[in-house]
Every structure is written in structure tokens, then in C-alpha cells.
Symmetry: D2
Subunit: 362 residues, 4 copies
């Protein structure tokens, strides 16, 4: 279990890093939405390896094929199946990992759970699995963008100790895509690139933070108690490979503030109440309040490093590992479309769910 | 929607702060588990108001009645319904809030969503709603404790700028319960109590951090991709009132480390691989690895404060609010059993789910 | 598990025949719907024992208390909890059943599944459990009736070999309620009552068929493949105690027809296509087509009879049982509101789900 | 929505009759199960067109490709994706159906629901969609057969007015496969084949009944109230194209019996209670009792016939239709593996769910 996500806009993903391919089935996309494979490709291109010297050099075009659910250029309401074939799978490159467990990877935990493990490049635990999510997120983006008018944008706001200055309410996709780090603060972006290059040369890796904003979100999305907007976002984000933390609005910084400092005063807006500040991050009581939804995701340094490491074999004996796979010294730039995808999926689900609430006149 | 949680161990909660009462139905508790109302009361007593001068003085005994699912002292496998009547509901105390929106509360967001709001003490958005979760969590605690041998313990590790020193692998329930702050570091606990009292007198409020550990968790719990252990924990925690952030293991601190510093080396253990450090927080690839599961939850300062605040009426007109309800100047002490409850519910669900994986011999 | 039903309009039921009471929590009812306990009572009264000499004489008023989710006479969107206390529970009357398994009851199957059984009047397996469904169904009836304009009506169309003549498109609630058998064909109703009385005097019991119609159902409800309207109706009906079969439209009678005889020709209607006949029973490809939804449910003769029967003890030893509990010699009259309840719940769920499809203009 | 089925053993299907192909993703199959594409092919071959002169002559090999979830010949616990490409799609053959609604097909209902319809051979509403179910059912068959020892077998027990004599406890797969009708009563099978041939020549079609048995089912499978074994079976069966009715055990025949005639007496068996008769059809109170699970499914005569029919255009104007597509004059022979597939999927799901009940010793 575990590979199905969503309540009303549901996706089911499958595929392993060095298997036949990766795919996703989306059940619950409304009919009549214009959709073509090209609509998925922009996001998939932002996720794929080999975009720049900062990322893994695995050679994958990651071309998406839409197998069902679209007819004459529009969705039919039937499940949309998307397939991306693996072109550059090299299982033999992982033969040396067959009988040992890489530190801070899922190898041992998967063996403990399943007792039969696809050791080729992490198998199902590889970040390559996120192709399905990004493809589904791109469909959610079409829906939210064309019908609901909601925009979702993420960027690298920190790498190691380098923190960018970015205004969440103003930053644009062009700003983000202007630099291969996906940091829209040019000076910091340049420094980040240098730091990542240095880490790579040193056989090491770096972590960081991605910030994400959803703009023009109507008030009223999210459900009380368990399916709060921030709860579903947190689940989505912590389901991403290498994610270690999530916070919304003021987040962990709220801890050092007092209630008087932290509360967002309401002020009369043109179409109803608005807040003078946004420490709530656009959600109150789990439900959007009309302000920008803003949250952060912390990522650890890539577990795969080109340095010797102590570990154990599958026979529980000590051994030394030197990693040799193709990998990213810093996952942050490629994690940006993954964060957006999960945010888009959560928002699309709740936007559709709100339809079932808006039945009787207020 | 939004009030049902869990896949295999499922709960459905209901109730408002100043309505008839609060309750929960648990569907999926295995049969033959010894259970009595007293087993719920210990956790409910840790959650209820009026425990100390640090918490709200609302006078509620919060006595749980088990209405179904238990026969001759043991569960039957049928749904377990638990009811806690509200004894000290005072709706009239909230009459002045009927026509305005309290800052950083759910008032406006609920009205935007539902168009018809129970304004009595926050209604469904009140933290009083968590009674159902804590009762269900207490049942999960019986199951995990008696059958799986898993222990879950949380404590206040920070209030405002006061940070406690606590060893997650050694701290005990007695340590936590020794002080009304639920901070098991005595010197810090005393300072926290003073800080909270000062805030109350000043009409202000404070936030903080709760740390939680699950010990003796077998390797193999959690499901890949979307239902990762840390993803489900994150959802559970961010579903708690006033929660702003979650991180697991090294969490946001991982950002400042490099891969060489951060990776947990495997070392041969007596019963299989173990890790020399635990920056993974007991989960790798979303699945427990046998180490302690350790995570943190950030809580904002209580939104209800005894100070004047700017806000708007339901007619979108500016107005000044002075709060008068009974409230906690710092939610942290009472949030400890809530955090434990959500962790217990997530762990119980995944522990039961693992049964469906362990079908064929490894 | 097993006590939660529905996807968007979800209910969670609990309670045993001779425990504290019976209840239900409905999560997903839209806000702003006028609702009071009296709205539930009419259906509960049609379900409760002791209505006539044809039914069990257990003395239960079955008064519903709404514990949450309704404020100032209208739903708030929060979960609606309903409680019915058991007033006339007599567990001691079942002491003689503690150590044996009643034929064609759930006693042995429950013991095989759970290993710990509430033997008091069937416990969770008692038809008294349906109170929760009928209460939830009454809420669905308010929603469908007041907002969607859909009407659901069921009646006893056969008892043993007595078959009523009823026009599904014309029969009214008044017709159904005119006779305690709930058969709207007066002559047949009278004969049914005599037959049931005879069976009772003879220590025997009878089965029969209930027919149900949903009128003014818009075209487009139901989902392809697994969640077809007739599939969800079938699940709902076969989940009722004593139900043995379900068919829709022509049903089992379709078997003896040829395609030319069976197909429903389309004819132009005032607002779109209509069918000249309704052998489809209002569903085509799992989706409503605008015609009346018509289906039948077969019920077996009551398993509890006042005659000696061969059975075994919990120690697997042969024994003779003479039943002594209060029971219905024919469940059909009281099953009518149960059938309606399940139909209402399925229709409400799909009616709400259709909102998430109708997002883009056709 | 509607294309995801199951709680613990979950499948997600996709694909249209004349699109790229048909597929399914199974999430929740336990790891370590031996599995190869050949294990799926036997069932797919029984379902595919062109097996005999009694079925559609569409030329499809229906070769299954397993794209994920299997490594070195055994399942890994990850989602299993299966793809069957459409080889003989002929969309142009359906051009004449683009602008009209075929009687008793889903054409109009789909348009009413979605407003944008894939008119090529029924699109998603085609019985070709069941390929995904049959592939998933074949995996469930491996699991149930190799691990649980459960066998599922269905056969054609009636076509039009021809009723076969078959003993559900003795009939074998060889008996069923001995004749292209899949009726294991040879004399009746021969008569059925003649009747079907006659109907085809006459431009007409026939319906019938399939009976299915699950043998060696342990007592205790199924869940009370909503997820009863017979309720989930009923949903599965009524989700099949052309299915009109379902009954279990005595089914609709129970109506004409009295309680004394109908009850199944318990008798001491070697390993616990058994029943002297099986009118319960192997389920009591929704839970299996250890006896054979036996049920029937009614199918209508194929809606596609080679005769002129009255219908309407998409513009709601009367028109005459003469069908020209390739089709089966009687769906029963090919529906046998579909019925088995749904039964296998329901049983596998409940067999796995029972693992979460069997946690504490009885």
C-alpha cells in the first residue's frame, strides 16, 4: 500500500528507478479540461536529470505518453494514465549494492519490511518515482490554473547556510527558472551554485529549504480536524524523498513570538475580511482564509555521496562502501517541481471537495 | 468531511466546544483487547482544562463513557464509541463574539467555507475537539503497549526562548509528569512556568516545541511513497490546533549539515543492522528502521489573548476586540497528550497494516 | 472495520442490540440544511419494533438525540452525531444463547472471526444496528428532498408466495403506510398479514421482496467501472440483515428476454433523450439516465423461529435449541425504511460527488 | 472517480476500448509472491475476444506486460502495473455512432454526466475495460491459491431458458473449459451453443446466469455491517457490464421458503461447527462460516444487436440505428473470468484484512 493519494482527485503511482518505466493513473479529473502530453512536459523537464551540471547526469528524456482519459484534446472524466519509459536504466551499475545497505537510504528498512528488495538504484524508493507525481501535478496545474485561477510556485530559498531574499507575493516563475539552482535571488543563486560544485568535488552533498506559495486561493478550502489544508500539505511534503521538515506561515519561528506579536489582525478588505499580516500562512483552523498559502520544506543533504562510508552487508557484517552511482550533490533544484506537484495535488483535491460543501445558498 | 482518520485503525470524531459533548468512534480495533473507561481516563486527565494554574480554568471532569464495542472487559472488534459530555459549557460567554472574527482563529475561514458558524467558543474548531483523538489514542496505546511493545512519549522541549535539555532515549513519563509544564528538565520547567505566568499577567501568550519519541518500534512500519511514516505523522501533527511545523530526526537542522556529517552509518547489531547515530529519526525511505522514532512539533502562541486587538465584524467593518474567554496562555502542557495521541494513532494504523504485508515467508 | 460507508457523504455507525445504545456519525453533510431531531423520528418510527402485531414487541421508543453538527436549526458542515439509547435491553433473556450458535445467525461466524462475542441478542449483528443507518438516511432524505428534489420510496412487493401489484411510478408514501405490512396493494396486504400471523402462530417465519424506486433522479449520477450506481446500491442492500439478493430494472427477469425484447428504445423527450421502456431500471453503464431508478431486494425468512432446531454448542457438541427471544415473524415491513435509508445514502453520496464533475462548462 | 476498488488489496484501472490500451495498477499485493506475465495470461485468454465462434471476432492477443512491482520473479510489495495494448482498435468503425445514442448502452448517460464522450466502441464503458480487472484477479488468484488455499470457479448455469445441472461442490475448471459456452453440463452446453448461434443469425442476443463458488474459504472473512462479504461481492458483480442481479446462497428462492425450511442446522464438524445445508451460501451475518461461498449473477442480453432499433441523436432527434460493430451475441461465456476476477479481488481483500483482526490470541 501507500501509493495512492487524494480523496476526490486521486492518483495511483507505480514504477522503479531501473525497471521498465514510471507511471501514474489519475482518477477524478473533471471532464472537458483541455489536455495534451505537452502540458505535462514542462514540469517533467524541470524535474528530469541532466538539466545542468548541478544535477545527476543520468540521460533520460522523460517523455510522457498519455494512454487514456483524453479524447479529441480534452479530458473525458475517465482515468488518465501516463507512462514514462526508462531509457537509461543501468541495473548492472548497482550490482555492488546488491548485498549491502547504503547509509541513510531506504535499503535496510525496505528489506525489513518486504524481505525482497529491488536493489537497482533504490527501486521504488528512488526519487525517480516522483515522475508520476509531477505528471499528475501538471494536470492539477491545468485544472487549478484554467478553472480556479490558483497559481502555485516554489523556489530554493536556502542551500546549506546560504539564505535567499525573496518576496513570496512577487516572485515569478521566470525569476525561479532564471538560474539552474532555482533560487530567484541572483546573488545567492550564484553562491549556491559554487557551494554545490564544491561539495560535489569534495565527494560530499548539501541540503536546503524550498519555499512554496499558492496565490489567489479562495477562502474556504481545507477541511476541519484531520484534513486541514496544512495537514494535507505536510503529508504531501513529508512524502517526498529527502524531506525532513515542514512548516506553514511563521512556522518554527512562531515559537519565539508572543501572541500579541503573532496574531494577524483582520482588516476590512474590498470583498471581505483580509489580514494585515500573514503569519497564519493563509490557513486558519485548517481552512484557507484568502491570503497567500506559504510554507517551507526542509531537505537533508543527499544520502548518496562519493566518499567512503561505514555500513553493513545484508548478512549484518561491517563493510566499507564507496558510492559510484550517478546522483545529485544537492536535490534542491530538482525538488522544486516535486514540491509544487504535491501542493497542486492537495489544492486540486480540496478545491474539488469544496464543491460538495457549496450546495445550499449561504 | 475531514473528521475521519486512519486506514485500518480508523476514527471518526464529532462534537463542539459548547455543544452537548464530544465523542469518537473507533472502527478497526482488534478484538480481545482488555479495555475499560479507566484506560482512557489517564490520558484525558492530562488533556483536560484546570489541571494547574498554567491552564484554562474551564471546569470539566472530562469523564469518558464507552458506549459500545467492549463486552465483559474486552473489545469485540465492533466499533468503540466514546462519549464525553460537556459539563461547563457557557455559550452565553461567547455572545460578544457572535458578530466578529477573532484574529488568528478559524472564525472567518469557517464562515467563508460553511456560511453558518457555531460561534460558541470556536465550535468545532476548538481544541476541545481533541478529546476524541486523545480517547482514541489511549486505546491505541493499550494495543501498542500490550501487544506490540511500543511506547510513545512526548514532552515540552521549548517554550518561547527557553530550551530544555532532554535525552529522548532515556526520559520517562514520570519525568514528564513531574512538573505541570510537562517539561522533564526541572530547571527549565521552573523557568517556563514563570515565563508563562508572566505572559498571562501581561495579557499575552507563548508558543513552543513538543518533542515526541516512539521507542521499541519494529523495523518495517510505514508505507512507501505517500503513506510514509513521517508523512502520516506530519499530517497527524499539523492537524492539531495551533500546530505550525513538524520535523523528524535532524529535521530543519539537517539543512546546515553535509551528507558526510548527516548520514547515519550502519553498524552490525545483535538482531540486524542498527545505526550509529539517529539523524534519520528512526525512518528511512518512509519506513521505520528499528531506531527510536523522534520528531518535533512547533506550536504558535495561543491566539486568544487578554489584550485589545484590531479585527473586523461579520459585516466586514473594523472593530476592537478584547478577549474574555477562559483560555491557556500557553497550549504546550496540554498539547503533550494530543501529540502522543496522534503518534499512537498513526503507529497503530501502520502496525496493523504491516500484518497484511507479512503474509509469505521471507 | 466495516462500519464506515460512503465516500463524500460518510457515516460511521456503532452499537449493539443490548448495549448502551446505537448511534451514527455523519461526516460530509453540507452546511445550512435545516435539520431537527423530529426530521429523523418519522423514519425511526417506521423502523422501530412494536409498531403493530406483525412486528417484535420489544418496547423501544427509539428517540433520536442529535449531539453535534446542528446549530440554530441548521447543519454547520461539522459531523452530525446521533444517539438512540436502548431502553428495553434485556441481556439476561439471552443467557441461554451464550454457549451455543443459533442456526442461520451470525453467532458462529462472529466467533470464528473475533473469538470474543457479545451474545446478547446478536450484539452488533442484530438488526437493531440499522437504527444508525435509518437516522443517517433521514438526513440524506432531507438533503435530497429539499435540495435535489429526489424522492425515494420502498414497499413490500412480495411475502412468501403473495405478490403485490404496484405501479412504481405512481405509488405514494401514503399508499405504503396505509397498512402495517407496508404493501400498497390492499388486497394483497390483507392476505400477507394473515399469512404472517399464521406463520407466527406456527412458530415459523416468512421472507419476501421489497421494491424501491427513486424518482426525479437527474441523469448523470454514479461513476463508471466500480462505483456504478447499481453496484453501490447492491452493496448497500446486501449489507442489510437478512438480505439475500438484489436486482435492478428487469433484473433476473432479463435472463429470459432477448436483446430485441429487452433494449429500451430512446425517444426524444422535452429536455433530452428519454426511454420508451425502463428495463434498464434508470441506470445505463452504471450512471443514471433520468428514468426512475427501480430495484428489488430479496429477504430470507427470519432466522429466529419459535420451533426446536438442531445446532451445536460453542464446544462443538450437538444440542437442541428452542428460540425464546422477541422477534419478527417476517422482517419485510420493518425493512422498508432500511432499504430506503441505504438508497438515500447511496444517492446522496453520488449526488454530492457529481458536483466535483460539473466544474467546466459542457 | 469510480475506477479504484478495494481497501487493502487495491486496484486502479484505466483505458478505453479503442484507445492506446488497457491497464491496471495493483497496490497492496504482499511481497515475495512468485509472479510472471504468464500467470495472468490464462485468465486473459479466457476473457479475450475471438476464442470461439460464439464470441466477438475482434482480433486481440491481449498479451499482458508487467511493468513494475516484480523483481527476479517475485513481487516486491510495490505497485504492480499491467499494460495490455489495443492491437485491433478500429475507431473509424464507430464513426456512425458519434452522433447518436445506442439503446441500453451507456452513451446517453455518459454524455449526461461528462458532456464529452469517447464514442469509439463505448470508450471507457466497453467491456474491454474488464481486462484490468481480470489481470488483477489473476494476481489475487495466485495469492489466494498459493497462500490461502482458496479456489474460485464460475460457470454458465443458464442461457435464456436453458438451465444447467451442476454441483457447485464438485465441478472443476476442466469441466467448465470443456465447452466454449463455459457450461459444465455437456448436454445443456450443446443446446446453449445452438441457441446462441440462432440468436446471432437472427440479429438478436441472449442473457443468462453465471454461478460462482469459492471453496476452502476459512470461516471469519468479511466485516460486519457495510463491508459484509456478500455486500462486497454484490458490489463487485453489479459493477460488471451487463450485470442486472446478484444473489447469494438460496437468494431470491429464499423468498418462497419458511424459516423452518430455510435455516441451516449446525452439526459438529471435525474442526468446529459445520452446516448440514448451505442455504446461507457460506456467509452468515456478512462473515464466511467455512462452507462454500456460492452466488449467482444475472446478465442481460447483449445490448448491441444486428437489428434496426429506434433511438435518438445527440441533438435529441428520432433516428433508426442498425448496429454494425463486432460483438458477442451472448456475453456469458466471456463473463465467466470476469465474475471470477471480482470474486477473487473481494476475497483477497478480506483475507488480507483478516490479518489485522487476528492480532491477540483467542
Amino acid at each position: 500500500m501507500g501509493s495512492i493519494f487524494g480523496h476526490t482527485f486521486r492518483l495511483s503511482t507505480w514504477g522503479e528507478s531501473h525497471g521498465t518505466g514510471i507511471g501514474v493513473v489519475i482518477d477524478g479529473c473533471p471532464p472537458r479540461l483541455p489536455l495534451a502530453a505537452d502540458d505535462l512536459q514542462a514540469d517533467l523537464d524541470r524535474r528530469r536529470p541532466g538539466q545542468s551540471h548541478l544535477t545527476s547526469q543520468r540521460g533520460e528524456a522523460d517523455r510522457a505518453e498519455i494512454l487514456s482519459g483524453v479524447f479529441e484534446g480534452r479530458t473525458t472524466g475517465a482515468p488518465i494514465a501516463v507512462l514514462v519509459r526508462n531509457d537509461d536504466a543501468r541495473p548492472s551499475a548497482y550490482e555492488h549494492l546488491r548485498d549491502l545497505y547504503r547509509p541513510s537510504h531506504a535499503d535496510w528498512a525496505y528489506d525489513a519490511k518486504y524481505g525482497h528488495r529491488d536493489w537497482r538504484g533504490g527501486g521504488r524508493a528512488s526519487a525517480r518515482e516522483t515522475i508520476g507525481r509531477v505528471a499528475a501535478g501538471a494536470i492539477a496545474r491545468q485544472l487549478l490554473g484554467k478553472v480556479a485561477g490558483i497559481e502555485v510556485l516554489a523556489w530554493v530559498s536556502r542551500v546549506h547556510d546560504l539564505v535567499a531574499e525573496v518576496d513570496p507575493s512577487e516572485v515569478t516563475l521566470e525569476d525561479v527558472e532564471a538560474h539552474p539552482t532555482r533560487c530567484p535571488d541572483p546573488a545567492t543563486a550564484t553562491a549556491m551554485a559554487t557551494l554545490i560544485e564544491d561539495a560535489r568535488r569534495d565527494g560530499d552533498s548539501l541540503g536546503g529549504v524550498i519555499t512554496c506559495v499558492a496565490r489567489d486561493v479562495p477562502a474556504g478550502l481545507g477541511d476541519p480536524v484531520f484534513d486541514r489544508m496544512e495537514a494535507d500539505l505536510a503529508k504531501g511534503m513529508l512524502s517526498l524523498p529527502a524531506a525532513k521538515g515542514f512548516d506553514v506561515g511563521s512556522g518554527f519561528d512562531a515559537v519565539a513570538m508572543t501572541g500579541r506579536q503573532h496574531n494577524d489582525p483582520f482588516v476590512p478588505g474590498p470583498d471581505g475580511p483580509t489580514t494585515a499580516s500573514n503569519r497564519s500562512g493563509g490557513v486558519q483552523g485548517g481552512i484557507t482564509n484568502g491570503a497567500d498559502v506559504v510554507f517551507r520544506v526542509a531537505f537533508k543533504p543527499t544520502a548518496t555521496i562519493s566518499s567512503e562510508q561505514d555500513t553493513v552487508t545484508t548478512e549484518n557484517e561491517a563493510v566499507t562502501l564507496e558510492a559510484r552511482g550517478r546522483h545529485d550533490p544537492c536535490v534542491l533544484p530538482r525538488a522544486v517541481p516535486m514540491v509544487e506537484a504535491m501542493a497542486l495535488l492537495v489544492l486540486a483535491d480540496h478545491w474539488l471537495r469544496q464543491r460538495t460543501v457549496d450546495v445550499l445558498p449561504a
